[in-house]
Symmetry: C2
Subunit: 300 residues, 2 copies
């Protein structure tokens, strides 16, 4: 893999598309993922082996995954929620998986119908198999900065769940601002608490939402704390389920623009990312809403 200063973890094909009303044909998804890889992205979360009834947008995971084009240095993680999903993932040939829980009990109940502790137990066979099989394994820790049901979330709750995920054996924990409320001081507070508990920035990724315009400010603060991996969604797909019409995932093109201005190497090409962003926006039948999608790069 080419040397990079910052890893970009692309979540558009999974996290982005699962929150869109439209269901995209499998061939279109594969073309999107191919454009993302061609743009230089090296970690592309491709799909989720969750129940097709729960998330019909990703019901084609079993068909899509084996058709992903193998590329040197490119990883295609898939979300795997439980043992049933693990069986499907093995059959599909995955070698990188993600599990998903949260810092808020109420959110976890609403989102996956389990307590946080139960979710960690559900992940145990997934992570154990992954470690034995030599897979790369990531844990998502959402609502780390605020919960749509409970409001503010304490950093000690975040630390406890991060410790639980790492104890299971995940390689990395992605700390999510699921409803897009964090500011830089919150990032310093939460990452600081994790560091004080012995969980350094090398074990962390940050997953910011741009719902209140703070995503790149939070990236800026996180870079100063030594964080080296950021999640983003090309085209800014996904929206915010808790604030209709508002933005959700940080757009990859906005992240890339900032990293380019900072002079940080990441391996992606802004113009090609924008091409992929336009492609998926057209497929979804809506205008490209990201800032750099509207304004273009610079110098042009």
């Amino acid at each position: 893999m080419t040397q990079v200063d910052v890893r970009i973890f692309e979540v558009g094909p999974r996290d982005g598309l699962q929150n869109e009303a439209a269901t995209i044909p499998t061939d279109t998804k594969l073309q999107f993922i191919s454009l993302l890889a061609a743009a230089g992205l090296r970690e592309i979360e491709a799909t989720s082996f969750v129940s097709p009834a729960a998330i019909p947008q990703l019901a084609d995971a079993d068909e899509l995954y084996p058709r992903l084009e193998p590329r040197p240095g490119v990883r295609y993680p898939a979300l795997v929620p439980n043992r049933r999903g693990l069986e499907r993932a093995i059959a599909a040939g995955v070698d990188a998986v993600c599990v998903f829980t949260a810092a808020s009990e109420t959110f976890t109940r609403h989102n996956i119908g389990m307590s946080i502790a139960e979710s960690l137990e559900a992940f145990r066979p997934v992570v154990e198999h992954g470690r034995e099989a030599g897979w790369w394994v990531r844990g998502y820790l959402s609502t780390a900065f605020g919960c749509p049901y409970e409001g503010p979330v304490t950093e000690s709750a975040v630390v406890a769940v991060a410790e639980g995920l790492l104890a299971l054996g995940v390689d990395e924990v992605s700390i999510g601002d699921t409803i897009g409320v964090a500011g830089p001081a919150d990032v310093r507070r939460v990452v600081g608490a994790l560091g004080a508990a012995g969980i350094g920035p090398d074990r962390l990724a940050m997953h910011f939402h741009d719902t209140r315009g703070t995503a790149l400010a939070n990236v800026t603060a996180a870079l100063e704390l030594g964080i080296g991996c950021f999640d983003s969604s090309t085209g800014g797909t996904g929206g915010c389920p808790y604030a209709p019409g508002a933005a959700g995932n940080l757009a990859t093109e906005d992240l890339v623009y900032l990293l380019d201005r900072e002079g940080l190497r990441h391996g992606a090409d802004l113009d090609r990312i924008l091409a992929a962003a336009r492609f998926i926006s057209e497929a979804l039948g809506r205008p490209l809403a990201s800032k750099v999608g509207q304004a273009g790069g610079w110098p042009s």
Copy 2:
């Protein structure tokens, strides 16, 4: 004036409205300014004594300015481009003025039909009268991070024009990212060069555009450099004349949200700012496009 950590310099009624296609009635502008003051904003750029033919949106400056409601601790600066504008400003009763030039020769030619040196000479009587009369005087230094005609702008060009403005006698220089291209590293570079030339953060304000989503990241970097004044436009009015459909001025509600999360005192109330933002968006006949305008504050 109540103690604040950060000054918010509201530019909506002048910089925002002058770049909108719609012309707003004087009574509506006065109601907007009254809402802004009621929201706790203490520096509200009210209008411009520029040629009515050049900017018809602000042709009512002579009528509007004397009707502004005096409020303790609230300043209503007005833009004054030259001696003719100065006469009108004196007649209208102003006590705080702004002059406007740029770091790019081509931009200055296109924007105000003068060279940078000629623009400074045109400001001389304005600033000299202002100092004698005890007015507060600000100089805008636009295209400090990039020019729509010339491309990249050097920090030495910014330093030279800032020195020219301060030599005239302005109290403060507002450093503008007119086309919204800067990232945090650019902010550190330009503010650093100004500091090395003896122009410290106490003489500076930052005027960021959110065209590429970096405005709050740049605020975050500028706060760390000791900058204590930021320009913004309630409702994010103005747009970007160089990228149709893209954002221009940082929205005051987005700035206030960030400052609130940072725990910094500024005197403004987010809910009341949002009320003013909705008011002016309705008057302009378009949806409120700012991030916090779409998503709301937090906790709600």
